[in-house]
């Protein structure tokens, strides 16, 4: 598995998440787009949806099983899912994919 596989999975998850969002609030699939925190588009249910979709996609697309969030959803989310790019990096690290490849 390579970083581009992880990025593709994240982008697909964002596409799926966007189906629940009005056109003006859809998230662009670009590394520097904010997801969580100041200027981020996701509220707490949005974060939970993103995590749930990502976990499903990792199982479906990448055939691996991971739990992306531990106890404190918002704290974890603000660390790992701050932007699209940090989300890709976090997933890569959890899946053992080299980020600098």
């Amino acid at each position: 598995m390579e970083l581009q596989d992880v990025r593709r999975t994240v982008f697909r998850a964002i596409d799926e998440l966007n189906e629940q969002r009005p056109p003006a609030e859809r998230i662009a699939p670009a590394d520097d787009v904010r997801l969580v925190g100041f200027d981020g588009g996701l509220d707490s249910l949005g974060i939970v949806n993103l995590v749930a979709i990502l976990e499903q996609r990792i199982e479906g697309d990448l055939h691996q099983s991971v739990s992306l969030i531990d106890d404190d959803v918002l704290a974890d989310a603000s660390r790992h899912f701050r932007t699209v790019g940090t989300t890709v990096s976090y997933l890569a690290s959890r899946l053992g994919v080299r980020v600098d490849a």
Partner: protein
């Protein structure tokens, strides 16, 4: 947002994801969604909700929150089913109260709580099996709500099946109290939208199909009708037969069939009537355009011939280029993506939810026959020496009746589906219509039309609002199936006659234009009514309105 339907989502769980899919899905009808705070039990239906201002209330509950007995059973206790059914009755009463305040209430059916496999071998056992009890509870609820024509239970099982392993998501449940996966909510949102369209009378009514590689396998011009793949010991041939059976079953739900195909008409009709495995014969189609012209042009012409609007049409063709052509040229026509594999055709048709109806009337079941009668009538028109002679030979009878429980559904359907001969295009659910008509200052009549070719059934509706010396026509609605045979005149004659009997001075009719009801304006312009203002017509009731010369009117109502 005038084109958006207002929907309220009530649930005993976090239903924000359903609301998001409903609000952000770009397909028609567009909806504006409110989500009420999560609440459990009877209070959910009895809350202070201004339901009357909404088109639709979606009320989604989990059975363990409605019935304590069911919850105890899930926990392993033995329970008396009668207790659970009493709780369902209490829930049904709360729903009835809600339905009295709302136009339409949609209830997704109960499902077993996530990850509960129902105690295996004991699942269907009386007193012990949760599956057994849930089925009984669901049936009890359906029976209790059956008399109410604005409450519908939506079957949620297909949504669960479609979602498969994603029907439940532990992350969503434990972190957000969302009991189903998003795949379930996506399917539910589609079903809710289909239901809203159906209740609003926006169901599709005409399926236009291609012939080669659609209705049958193979190309008629190349292989002759004997060489077509249809039935026989052949998977693809059987799939085409099954596809035809699905089309045939639609005709029993008020859908009519048409053909648009690039072929020579003679050989194509011969194939339809001669091939021994054909399920559908030429008489099963209301009309066709079998020629080598552009298909978008042919779809338009056939739809016009059948007096329908393009919004009524579904176009099915195996060729993606033809589909794209019709989709681009006629955006109102529904052109579903169609599978390349003919084995998938029957399922692709069965999955379309655009034909759903809130009720099936006798008129729906007989629509295909009516269109055939209409073709026979038209042939006599084409050969008659004059319009007058033709009308006098038809033996037209119009029977007038009051609104009643027996005809309410059909009258509401007519009100909500008729576009062309419709004075004001007022849309009301059946319960609202009954309530409106029950007021003493309102009058409503239904008109049944028959002639020597067919009994067209209940095809006309006229309502009046009485105020002082004026009677105002609120609804003047006539099915396109009977337009142009003096039935319109008979309806006006009846209304004037009634107003005269009541000692009124004027009968007024105000035309409210839409993009489709100009036939109604043209009728009033030639009706003899005086044009009082731009869209306002009036009749001095002191003068009798001329009785239609070719129509026998049977008035069986109290004056």
């Amino acid at each position: 947002m005038p084109d958006h339907r207002a929907v309220l989502v009530l649930a005993d769980f976090n239903a924000a994801n359903l609301a998001s899919y409903l609000a952000n899905d770009a397909s028609a009808p567009l909806v504006r969604v409110q989500v009420a705070p999560m609440m459990r039990g009877v209070g959910l239906a009895a809350g202070h909700v201004d339901a009357a201002a909404l088109d639709t209330v979606v009320l989604w509950t989990q059975p363990q929150h409605i019935s304590h007995a069911f919850a105890r059973l899930l926990a392993g206790d033995e329970v008396d089913p009668a207790g659970a059914l009493d709780e369902v009755d209490a829930w049904a009463s709360a729903l009835e109260a809600l339905a009295a305040r709302a136009r339409t209430v949609l209830l997704p059916s109960w499902v077993m709580p996530h990850a509960h496999r129902g105690f295996g071998l004991l699942g269907m056992r009386d007193h012990l099996g949760p599956v057994n009890l849930l089925m009984r509870m669901t049936l009890r609820l359906a029976e209790r709500l059956a008399p109410h024509d604005n409450i519908f239970i939506l079957d949620s099982q297909p949504w669960m099946q479609e979602a498969g392993g994603d029907a439940y998501n532990a992350r969503l449940w434990h972190l957000a109290k969302v009991p189903f996966g998003n795949a379930v909510f996506k399917a539910a949102a589609r079903a809710v939208k289909a239901a809203i369209s159906a209740v609003a009378g926006e169901s599709r009514r005409l399926v236009i199909v291609d012939l080669d590689n659609t209705l049958w396998g193979g190309v008629l011009g190349d292989e002759g009708w004997q060489g077509l793949r249809l039935g026989g010991h052949d998977a693809q041939g059987e799939a085409h037969v099954e596809f035809q059976r699905e089309l045939q079953s639609l005709t029993k739900r008020g859908v009519i069939l048409g053909i648009v195909s690039k072929n020579d008409e003679g050989p194509a009709l011969a194939a339809i009537d001669r091939h021994p495995e054909m399920v559908l014969r030429a008489a099963d189609f209301a009309g066709w355009r079998i020629n080598w012209e552009d298909k978008a042009h042919n779809v338009t012409a056939l739809t016009a011939e059948l007096n329908l609007g393009l919004r009524s049409v579904v176009f099915i063709d195996d060729n993606p280029i033809e589909r794209d052509r019709v989709r681009q040229a006629l955006p109102e026509v529904l052109v579903p993506d169609w599978p390349a594999n003919p084995l998938l055709y029957p399922n692709a048709l069965a999955r379309l939810d655009c034909f759903d109806l809130p009720a099936i009337t006798l008129e729906d079941r007989g629509r295909q026959r009516a269109y055939r009668a209409r073709a026979a009538r038209q042939r006599t028109r084409d050969t008659a020496p004059s319009l007058d002679r033709w009308l006098s030979g038809l033996g037209i009878t119009v029977r007038v009746e009051e609104l009643s429980d027996a005809n309410l559904l059909r009258v509401a359907q007519l009100l909500n589906k008729t576009n062309q001969m419709n004075l004001t295009t007022r849309r009301l659910a059946a319960a609202e219509l009954r309530s409106w008509a029950s007021l003493p200052q309102h009058k409503l009549w239904a008109f049944r039309v028959s002639d020597k070719f067919e009994d067209a059934g209940l095809t006309g509706l006229l309502s009046l609002a009485l105020a002082g010396q004026d009677a105002r026509i609120v609804d003047f609605v006539l099915s396109c199936r009977v337009i142009g045979r003096e039935v319109e005149d008979a309806m006006l004659w009846h209304a004037v006659d009634y107003a005269r009997g009541r000692g009124m001075a004027r009968l007024l009719a105000e035309y409210v234009p839409t993009d489709r009801n100009s036939p109604c304006l043209r009728f009033f312009e030639r009706s003899g009514f005086e044009r009082l203002d731009h869209g306002l017509f009036g009749w001095n009731v002191g003068v009798p309105f001329g009785a239609p010369r070719h129509v026998t009117v049977q008035t069986l109502v109290e004056r």
